[in-house]
Amino acid sequence: MIPEEQQDQAALYALGLLEPREATEFEAAMTSNPELRQLANELQEAAATLALSSPTQVPPPALRQRLMRELAVEGKARWWQSQVSWVSWGIAAGLALLCGLLFLGRGKLAKTAADLEQRIAASEQRIATLTSERDRATETAAENRQRAEAAQLQLAQLNEERDALARKITQLEERDAASRVEAAKLTADRDALQQRIAELERKAPLTSIQVATLTSKMSAAPEAKVTIAWDGARQEGILKTSDVPPTGRDRDYQLWIVDPRYKDPVSAGVFSVTQGGRTEIVFRPKLRIASAKAFAVSLERKGGVSKAEGPIVFAGP
């Protein structure tokens, strides 16, 4: 029966918790007490099973590959060491033989000694060569490992760049598609306007038709446009809008024609836009216009005003 105090020692020994001096004393006690040794061994086995109570983790596959690579490098190094070791033994044997021969007769064996010295020198040379080759092999392996790691890193970067470019291409394709739609819309507008001009031309001489494109002064809608075709002979025109923002319930856009004959611009009526910023109206100014030098659109209260009060939101040509 093992005393309780020794059982405590055995448990602490199994867990590596004894101080070095205590551990040495305990190991000495075990040599003369097989029962105590068996207890310590069994407690070590029990302690080791605690490792299995840890939450299970699976090592990454790269760790196994790295380890096996390391083993391959170490295997080569071992081989070189074994070669060097054999050569060393060869030298020792050569020296022993030399000593024996010298003992038997130094005079006669002088030539043999010289030969052996040459062989020793050659062996030493061989050792130096093998050592150098071993060092080179180790260095090469380390360099190859570094290169492989660098290549993997570069590959990862390239993959990231490729993904970023693919995202950019998708964005550009989307923008391109939107631009095509916009271009088609503008082309349709232009065609419609040309058609109307053609109609007007049929009704009146072309020389009396004046076309003006009014550009937006609104920072919130820089793409908005108002196009006007003015027939001075008939004293009427067509106004067409695109992408013009709605005015809200209590306001209207009001068209003005600048004629040098009048001190103030002449009102040509009010208009509002539908959803999508489009509208098309036929307008007639309040006064006869002799020369339409410019057109402007202001934002006014509902129904319009006799003299412009609100901000000018479009002007041209």
Binding site: L15, G16, E45, L50, P55, L63, R64
Partner: protein, 191 residues
């Protein structure tokens, strides 16, 4: 060592072959022991990158010292676990992670049985290890709480038994007795 199980015999064959320089035998041994040793190191170090470095060192040491393994002293599993634990403790001490250890051990006191992490491994070795791990968790769970606490702190931290006594605010003799009783009970259960 008592009579060896078939798995223990297979382990001895693998390490004997590895001692002769057989790489494939060593790879098989890695497949068998990799997950439990990695799990142990991860629980003690808590940092994946450091655990990988530690495991590389441990397995290289197993490879180099395979010829020194004595089947009469312990099973291959026990030998490898104690080697891993020893190297991990060296790392913790060398890197001045004492405060980390104390924190980890405190956390372990609060959660004595953390949940089992999901694994992505497969194969007979992992299945076998998982079954064995479940059995061990169940056996450890059957220990009285105070014994389990003392044994787990003693095994998973780099604390001395005096430090364990201080942390659990118990006399040193009580801690020694709890460790002894806990380990003895575990030994009886796994027999």
């Amino acid at each position: 060592m008592g009579e060896q199980s078939p798995q223990q015999k297979a382990d001895v064959e693998m390490i004997t072959a590895a001692a002769r320089g057989d790489h494939s035998a060593f790879a098989a041994l890695y497949d068998r022991l990799g997950s439990p040793l990695y799990s142990l190191a991860y629980r003690m170090l808590g940092d994946a990158a450091e655990v990988q470095d530690a495991m590389q060192d441990v397995f290289l040491e197993i490879w180099r010292r395979a010829a020194n393994y004595d089947a009469g002293q312990s099973s291959v599993f026990t030998w490898a676990v104690l080697l891993t634990r020893s190297r991990v403790i060296d790392r913790l001490r060398a890197r001045g992670r004492r405060s980390h250890l104390l924190e980890v051990s405190r956390q372990e006191n609060e959660v004595l049985f953390p949940g089992v992490a999901s694994t992505s491994g497969s194969g007979a070795d992992i299945v076998s290890i998982n079954e064995e791990a479940a059995r061990v968790r169940s056996l450890v769970g059957e220990l009285p709480v105070e014994q389990r606490q003392a044994v787990e702190l003693a095994f998973f931290s780099a604390l001395t038994h005096q430090e364990i006594a201080e942390q659990l605010r118990q006399p040193l003799g009580t801690i020694k007795a709890r460790i002894r009783r806990g380990l003895m009970k575990l030994r009886e259960q796994i027999r």
